[in-house]
Symmetry: C2
Subunit: 256 residues, 2 copies
């Protein structure tokens, strides 16, 4: 089985390397990942600039292709140009930091997985819930179970799994949950500062999420030290509102 690995922390990040090490004996691996860190790029793709691709070594031997683009660019160029054979599965990660709730809209890691689903591949994004001294070993081992889960349950075309792993010792993990994405808002603000030349600049700060009322969400389950698995797709249609608005057009909208 062939697996394509990508991420948004960049090809030199320890998370993707941990995944590579955990999977390399059992699978044919390809690595195509951003040359530089691409966090919070969301589903951006590169249209106004060309992409460059470089062959990268790690520990003295060929590791993969570094691309001067976003995670979504990496998935596209991997399957459409760089790989000799298409992958059976595309994995994105392991990300340093959780990707839950509305955060996943900003996430390059998750966008690589939804791009993969959109191109017709089984895919998953894997994130570890810490940004400080991450130990990726358990998450990387768990990725092997995820691959089995995706194959056994024949994950639907057009769906990606968004997976978050608690950053606690394995014996403290409180189980595995299939959850929905949380939709709670963040408490955000901008810090207003002055640069050394006296000019104002702003920096986004304070991202602690507001508590979700719904307890069946990725954010809440991850907080309870459960591994969360959320099936995500790329159809943003809001079905309830679609149904309701269909009854509203004739009186209120007309051609001039």
């Amino acid at each position: 089985m062939r697996i394509l690995l990508t991420n948004d922390d960049g090809i030199y990040a320890p998370g993707i390397y941990a995944l590579y090490e955990a999977l390399k004996d059992d699978y044919d691996l390809d690595v195509v990942a951003p040359e530089a860190e691409m966090s919070a790029v969301g589903h951006a793709i590169t249209l106004t600039m060309p992409l460059r691709v470089q062959r990268i070594k790690r520990n003295g031997s060929f590791f993969g292709h570094a691309v001067t683009g976003t995670p979504a660019d990496c998935v596209k160029i991997a399957v459409q140009e760089l790989l000799e054979r298409p992958p059976d599965i595309i994995l994105s990660g392991i990300n340093r930091g959780a990707n839950v709730g509305v955060n996943i809209l900003y996430s390059g890691t998750v966008s690589a997985a939804t791009e993969a689903a959109f191109l017709g591949f089984k895919s998953a994004a894997i994130s570890l819930n810490t940004r400080k001294d991450p130990d990726f070993r358990f998450a990387a081992r768990f990725a092997k179970q995820i691959i089995g889960f995706m194959i056994e349950n024949n994950l639907s075309k057009g769906t990606a799994l968004n997976i978050n792993i608690p950053a606690v010792p394995p014996e403290e993990i409180a189980g595995v949950c299939i959850t929905r994405q949380g939709t709670a808002r963040f408490k955000e603000f901008f810090e207003r500062r002055n640069d050394p030349r006296g000019n104002t600049y702003y920096w986004l700060s304070g991202e602690a999420p507001v508590e979700d009322a719904n307890s069946d969400t990725d954010a809440v389950c991850l907080k309870e030290n459960k591994i969360t698995i959320t099936p995500v797709h790329y159809d943003l249609t809001c079905d309830e509102e679609l149904k309701r608005l269909k009854t509203c057009i004739p009186p209120s909208l007309k051609m001039e």
Copy 2:
């Protein structure tokens, strides 16, 4: 009523100016838009760099704030820092080129509207279906009807409207449709070229969408010269797959 205007073509683009001109006599307008063109940035936000904000004039008088960030950054910094009073509605556009189907995942225009919905505002993204010599006049007039539609029908919190306008004379427009987002794949490929120093680079090309089997989609209706209105949200959970996978965990996944 106060309306915030933003876009992804940049604050100097003609589309946002057409919207401004069409609405300025009836509404209190604020403009906060990217300093430079930000197409295809998706829902990217700026975390690793500070944002700069500049007051911009058009035709000799104050027009709005230009931000050195993405459309989603503009919405955040507008409502959290720059505006004295919160807007009643946030409009993004008018974009040069359609935003239908899976394209909306790459769209800065649509992402600004979903960011606005996520922050609790009524919002809409408006795009005109041409990239060549766009005439924004009808679309800008239609935006006034959209505002009425959003207010009358009390658009749900957490939902944004993604609106596409055919680029034909108003008398050729074949009606208004409430549609779903198409999910058809694109026919894409990378052009491989050599730069003047003989180095290879790649450029994404060929974006003609593959035909959607489902006829009730934004892409199909727009092609029939209908105005499309698609309610979109920011919950990427795939409900069917969620329900199915919930029955699958116990046998196949376990803690090591």
